[in-house]
């Protein structure tokens, strides 16, 4: 009982300490944090309360027996106008927020679940296993991420029915190498720390050490990377949608797909079908980026001092921009 209470106390102290920098954030970092949180929150709320907030369903084309006009200008009944399918642009944006966040949430979860343990084990045990995994991950890294996502989405599209799942998996595969690399490199530096050495000397089992000492130390980095990756993931998802892969139009509203359909509208001077979903993408990604960068500056003085991440020997230096976490 006592130990549990101590552990709980230790944990709350830990959380408070972790949150302290946010409260202490000053100046630009603070503004970025607040604006980023605000923007992200808006989209999260849109997603959660889509059924209430959205004027119509994402594929609704009539109301009260009256069919909506095709490609109608923005007006008071359709604030952002209507599409070629007579659906309401605003409603598709609101429901689209749900699709985007669902996919990105899933992709992040998958990415973390696969990438973090792999990085922990590979970094801690080292040896041939480590070298092999690093080589494999580097090979994956050599693909332009979008290219990899396209090929994966294309491949899974035939066999997996849920477009959300297809898109999430395609994005996951492009981000696993990043989580892997960040975690692994951090583990390598932590591995030789005195307290880990001490635990090892006391006869702790490797997995206990990993779980108790290494994991918590390393996992601090993850929220920042995850937030920045979420921003990237939205961009990848919308790019997939734009090219016609990933979430299929009958399964949900997706901004990238809407922009792709709007390309032919734009050539005819119809601007509202493309502009609004496009702006939604820009705002959500901006929000997530601001949040990530704000967190990065406040939470993580280690990263702040880091120079450009030099990659360990042998690996091609293909750090994505989100890893060059600099204020």
């Amino acid at each position: 009982m006592a130990t549990a209470a101590v552990r709980l106390q230790r944990r709350t102290v830990g959380i408070r300490r972790a949150l302290a920098p946010i409260a202490e954030a000053r100046g630009m970092a603070r503004t970025m944090l607040w604006v980023g949180t605000g923007l992200t929150l808006v989209f999260v709320l849109l997603a959660i309360f889509a059924p209430i907030l959205s004027p119509y369903g994402f594929d609704q084309y009539q109301s009260g027996g009256h069919r909506f006009a095709q490609l109608a200008h923005p007006s008071h009944s359709h604030l952002f106008g209507t599409t070629v399918q007579s659906t309401d642009v605003l409603s598709r944006i609101v429901w689209g927020a749900q699709t985007e966040l669902e996919v990105v949430g899933l992709a992040l979860a998958f990415g973390l679940v696969i990438g973090v343990p792999l990085g922990l084990v590979s970094g801690y045990f080292g040896g041939a296993l480590d070298r092999g995994t690093v080589l494999f991950m580097d090979a994956m890294f050599a693909f332009p991420p979008l290219l990899l996502a396209i090929v994966i989405a294309f491949l899974l599209g035939g066999s997996v029915n849920s477009g959300v799942l297809v898109a999430a998996l395609a994005i996951t595969i492009t981000y696993v190498p990043q989580y892997f690399r960040v975690v692994r490199n951090h583990v390598i530096s932590v591995r030789e720390e005195p307290y880990v050495e001490a635990a090892r000397a006391l006869g702790a089992k490797p997995f206990t050490i990993l779980r108790r000492y290494v994991f918590f130390n390393v996992v601090q980095n993850v929220p920042v990377i995850a937030t920045l990756n979420a921003a990237d993931a939205v961009l990848t998802l919308t790019a997939l949608g734009f090219l016609g892969y990933g979430v299929q139009p009958s399964q949900g509203a997706e901004w990238g797909y809407d922009v792709s359909r709007a390309v032919s509208d734009a050539a005819s001077g119809i601007w509202w079908t493309g502009l609004f979903p496009g702006l939604a993408i820009v705002l959500l990604v901006t929000g997530l980026t601001l949040l990530g960068e704000g967190l990065n500056e406040t939470i993580n003085p280690v990263l702040r001092r880091r120079t450009i991440a030099r990659v360990d020997f042998g690996a091609p230096s293909l750090e994505p921009p989100s890893e060059i976490l600099e204020p």
Binding site: Q85, G244, S264, A267
Partner: protein, 527 residues
């Protein structure tokens, strides 16, 4: 501060690398255009697989071939049936198992080689020898062999009697090439333009895959398809119709043929200085119903779908009148067409009749139905078309439709082997009712894998192929359409117009828009 000179070294190294990367690339064969002012610049979203006629079975390549090659029989402007071109005429024996054609004398290929019966035999033999993966050789699968009788007569010996052989002679598989230039068992590469010689109106003078094909008038062309009325043709290839539309509006291209989205056609129709030309078309779209899989294995369900099908809404709402509702697999305007579905199920959808037919068969409603469609192959509007179908069927409360889509490569491999109801389109190999019936309803050649097999239908179609007179043939064709509508394994729903768009200084487009679906560029002029 040692950084600077080193940076400079690096810059020099980088530039040298760039230069190395680009040097040593051979220049493509190119002859300059004679007159750029009278050159017609066309835009298209079609693609070209192989220019060599033995290696293509797609519309984009066929359009290029039309400019470069001829057949024994062709369709010059104003002709709707096979007309002597390189042949002076073709006749069949009594059994219709051998067709003999006499050839025109004095015709030369663009490189100066004379045209003789050896070229005809060579052309057919190499199509069968190459057996290109495009499958073009399938068109002449009924051909046993070709025999020459002197320089100016050839006989086609067939495996089974075929009254429509002259139509086959107008297809890509029957294109005539020069036997001195084309290898017997290999396709000539697209960029090897000096070896892509034919007898047609133009010479392909430059080909950049995926970007551009440049045609200059063929000095040796004998004018049998009509004289060349412009200084040359450039076909510019686009992957998105929206960029092609902007290019047309900006005057980068003079005309565009195939294909814009319905929204774009509508907008172009309202643009000043641009005209959308419309001719009757032969492209059709249809929904295949699997007669082996539930729920469409139940005839009542198929009939209910036929009663509910929103043909008018699709034609007006989705395609803005650029397609017309179709009530038979054989398009309206073709000899032998009957409004089969219209007669049996009515021209307008009827929920009451659909309900009655389901009730009579004791089918529990709503019927759950998964409908498959493919996003890119049949144009962007497919998404809207199938949304419309889903809405119509669901609105009747008799069906609960789920839409599913798959990328074309996967989709085209699967079809009836796994899908219960699915979208397809058809572009005929030759414009005759036969080509709208045999590939779909004859159990031996049904490519949709929807499991349809009817002894009565098979017997009719067999009779049709060996029919002695056109009247007899057309009467069989009409009977077959009625059976097809009654069994409803396929629901045809629209027939497209042939659309081309031109700027105001381009003339002669309208004349070439007829059911043969050929863009005769040589008839087009620029003022």
């Amino acid at each position: 501060m040692h950084v600077r000179p080193r940076l400079r070294h690096l810059a020099v190294l980088g530039l040298a690398g760039l230069a190395l990367a680009v040097v040593g690339v051979t220049a493509a064969q190119s002859k300059p255009l004679h007159s750029t002012a009278s050159t017609i610049i066309d835009g298209t979203t079609d693609t070209v697989t192989n220019v060599d006629p033995a290696g293509n079975y797609d519309y984009g390549s066929a359009t290029v071939d039309l400019l470069v090659y001829q057949h024994l029989l062709d369709y010059p402007e104003g002709h709707r049936s096979p007309t002597p071109s390189l042949a002076t005429g073709c006749t069949a024996n009594a059994a219709q198992t051998a067709w003999t054609c006499t050839l025109k004398k004095g015709v030369k290929f663009s490189n100066g080689d004379p045209f003789t019966s050896a070229d005809v035999k060579w052309s057919f033999d190499r199509v069968n020898a190459i057996k290109d993966p495009s499958g073009i050789y399938g068109l002449i699968s009924n051909l046993k062999d070709v025999t020459t009788n002197g320089d100016y007569s050839v006989t086609f010996n067939l495996k089974t009697p075929q009254s429509t052989w002259p139509f086959i002679l107008t297809t890509g598989a029957a294109t005539i090439v020069d036997h001195k230039v084309y290898p017997a068992d290999k396709i000539v590469a697209n960029t090897d333009t000096k070896n892509l010689v034919g007898t047609g109106p133009y010479v392909l003078s430059k080909f950049t895959p995926g970007q551009q094909a440049v045609f200059t008038p063929n000095p040796n062309y004998d004018g049998s398809l009509g004289s060349v009325k412009n200084g040359g043709v450039i076909i510019n290839y686009y992957s998105k119709s929206s960029t092609m539309k902007l290019a047309l509006q900006q005057g980068t291209i003079d005309m565009a043929f195939r294909d814009f989205t319905p929204t774009e056609y509508a907008a172009l129709g309202k643009t000043s200085g641009i005209t959308v030309f419309k001719g009757s078309g032969v492209v059709i779209r249809y929904l295949v119903l699997n007669v082996k899989r539930p729920p469409t294995n139940n005839l009542a369900v198929r009939k209910a779908i036929a009663y509910l099908f929103p043909r008018q809404d699709i034609a007006s709402r989705i395609y803005h009148g650029n397609v017309q509702p179709l009530y038979s697999m054989v398009p309206a305007g073709l000899p032998g067409h009957v409004n089969a579905f219209g007669e049996l199920y009515g021209l307008a959808p009827s929920t009451a009749k659909a309900k009655a037919v389901l009730k009579a068969a004791h089918v529990k409603t709503p019927v759950k139905l998964t409908v498959w469609w493919t996003p890119s192959h049949y144009g962007d509007a497919s998404a809207d078309e199938y949304t419309e179908i889903q809405r119509a069927l669901n609105a009747s409360k008799l069906f609960k439709v789920t839409l599913k889509s798959a990328e074309w490569a996967t989709y085209s491999k699967t079809l009836g082997t796994q899908y219960g109801a699915f979208q397809l389109g058809w572009f005929p190999d030759y414009v005759d009712a036969e080509d709208y019936l045999v590939p779909f309803y004859a159990s031996g050649s049904n490519f949709t894998s929807n499991g349809y097999k009817s002894a009565k239908m098979d017997a009719l179609l067999h009779q049709e192929q060996g029919a002695k007179s056109t009247a007899q043939r057309l009467s069989i064709v009409q009977q077959a359409q009625m059976i097809a509508a009654k069994d409803a394994p396929i629901i045809p729903y629209w027939q497209g117009a042939m659309l081309a768009v031109g700027r105001s200084d381009i003339h002669g487009i309208q004349g070439t828009l007829d059911p043969t679906y050929l863009m005769r560029f040589w008839e087009i002029t620029k003022s």
